[in-house]
Amino acid sequence: MRADIAFGQYYEGDSFLHRLDPRWKILFAILYIVVIFLAKNVFSFVLLILSAIFLILLSKIRLRIIFRGLRPLIFIIVFTAIINIFWLKGKTVLVDWWIIHIYLEGLVNALLIVIRVVILVAGTSILLTYTTTPIALTDGLERLLSPLAKIRLPVHEFSMMMTIALRFIPTLVEETEKIMNAQKARGADFSTGSLVRRAKALIPILIPLFISAFRRAEELATAMECRCYTGGRGRTRMNVLHSTWRDLVMLLLLCALGAAVVLINIYAPGYTLAM
């Protein structure tokens, strides 16, 4: 079951990207998203594709994994492509039959939008989730948001909650599987019958699951208190985050990419995105 959740999963590794500071990585991801949306011209999209290939090579993550992460998006990709192909009007008519009018511009536009969505998801996954452990990610987020603690926002508590929630996803998945098996062993049936029947069939799973989740929460709270956890104030860290030359290199590369995209948008000829 765990193998099915490729999107949003961490992949062990020791690449250039794995070693970046998670605080910077979050900023890089935001910057990359901005650059992706700045790209309008066909040539700037070529540049984007090159940058995505570069990211994949840098991360040393296998292509198969990246494609698997894109699989849940197939519906959105196909849907936006179809809308663009059939609804966008242009000058060069390709097909003109009955109520169907397809223009070259629509086709190109659809292609560019698909590229944009794919790079958006693949790029941010590679920068963040695939190459950063969830713990490092929440840690980075906490440090980035730490200025907000000055206006009394419980930043540490939020990030602790996120860390705990992430930590318990696999545990709860496993627990659900166990309970389902136990109820199946007593003849429970989750896959046939009307919608109402199937919803009712979930009760024997949900009740034990909630009860065990509460039990776990209580145990965890006790264990944390036993180790004198009192929240974020005055807490020191075992792993202090450091920015290195790698972060600087990555920042420069992304700025260069952004600048190139903007320049191409302004000066290069060629087809420009309609939306």
Binding site: A3, K178, I179, N181, A182, Q183, K184, A185, R186, G187, A188, D189, I203, P204, I205, I207, P208, I211, S212
Partner: protein, 284 residues
């Protein structure tokens, strides 16, 4: 009653992935009707996977599971019927209680079988008696019971389906000595009264020695030993080599032999050891 046969069962977790693991490797064996079979093995030896093969919770990658000579996967749609005949009590079953009353929870299995109200009531009462739950507990919420009572309620939930084969994964884990004896005694009693085959997975060599007619030993997804408790426990070196142990009294017998008093290595219960020692034989 029913007999389960496994024919060349192989099962692989995460096929094709880098963490691929062969949990069961070409296992063939028979669980004869009317016997209590103990299944022992180190953590990760494939016991729990094997147990889930028996009632069709997992489907073997290759090989067949036969219940009374009929392949249980012949009609995958009717796998539910197999699960009523082969009752499985999972590890820590008390965490799966869910209904408002103990009675309703125990009746969940029979209800799924399609029994009518009257019959469900009878089955629940019988199962509760087998499991040693007093009638006034039946009206309580399962969450108000003590740990041992919850375990017994969960056990009754499977017994209520009156399975021909009862499979239990670590039925006594986490219970105090009294609770252990009680649960295992109840299972033995159920076996004797109903004539069902019983398969017990356990880490406790003492329990195996006391309650099982036959013992199977698994290691790394393979069946490595197979025989009566006396046969299996007399091969202590091999058991220790696969990360297991022998009952304490068997160790005593070995120590006695090493000290020059050979009372035999086929000893696995205290009672039997006492019997041997008092038999008046001379041990050299």
């Amino acid at each position: 009653m029913a007999e389960i046969t496994l024919e060349n069962i192989t099962y692989v977790y995460g096929k094709g992935a880098p963490y691929e693991m062969r949990a069961l490797d070409d296992i063939s064996l028979i669980f004869p009707a009317g016997e209590v079979t103990g299944l022992i093995g180190h953590t990760g030896s494939g016991k729990s996977t094997l147990v889930q093969m028996l009632n069709g919770l997992l489907k073997p990658d290759s090989g067949r599971v036969l219940l009374d000579g009929k392949d249980i996967w012949e009609e995958p749609k009717n796998i539910q019927q197999i699960r009523f005949r082969v009752g499985l009590v999972m590890q820590y079953p008390e965490y799966q209680l869910f209904d408002e009353t103990v009675e309703a929870d125990i009746g969940f299995g029979p209800k799924n079988m399609g029994m009518d109200e009257e019959k469900i009531k009878e089955a629940v009462a019988r199962a509760a008696e087998f499991a040693g739950l007093s009638p006034e507990l039946l009206k309580k919420s399962p969450f108000d019971l003590s740990g041992g009572q919850k375990r017994r309620a969960a056990l009754a939930g499977v017994m209520a389906m009156e399975p021909e084969v009862l499979v239990l994964d670590e039925p006594a884990a986490g219970l105090d000595p009294g609770g252990r004896r009680e649960i295992l005694g109840r299972i033995r009693e159920y076996q004797q009264k109903s004539g069902a085959s019983v398969i017990i997975v356990s880490h406790s060599m003492e329990d195996m020695a006391l309650y099982c007619d036959r013992v199977l030993v698994m290691a790394n997804g393979k069946l490595v030993m197979h025989g009566t408790p006396a046969q299996v426990f007399s091969r202590a070196e091999e058991l220790i080599a696969v990360g297991l142990d022998v009952p304490q009294i068997t160790r005593v017998a070995r120590a006695l032999r090493d000290a020059g008093v050979d009372i035999g290595l086929d000893i696995y219960t205290v009672k039997f050891a006492a019997h041997r020692l008092l038999s008046g034989r001379e041990f050299k």
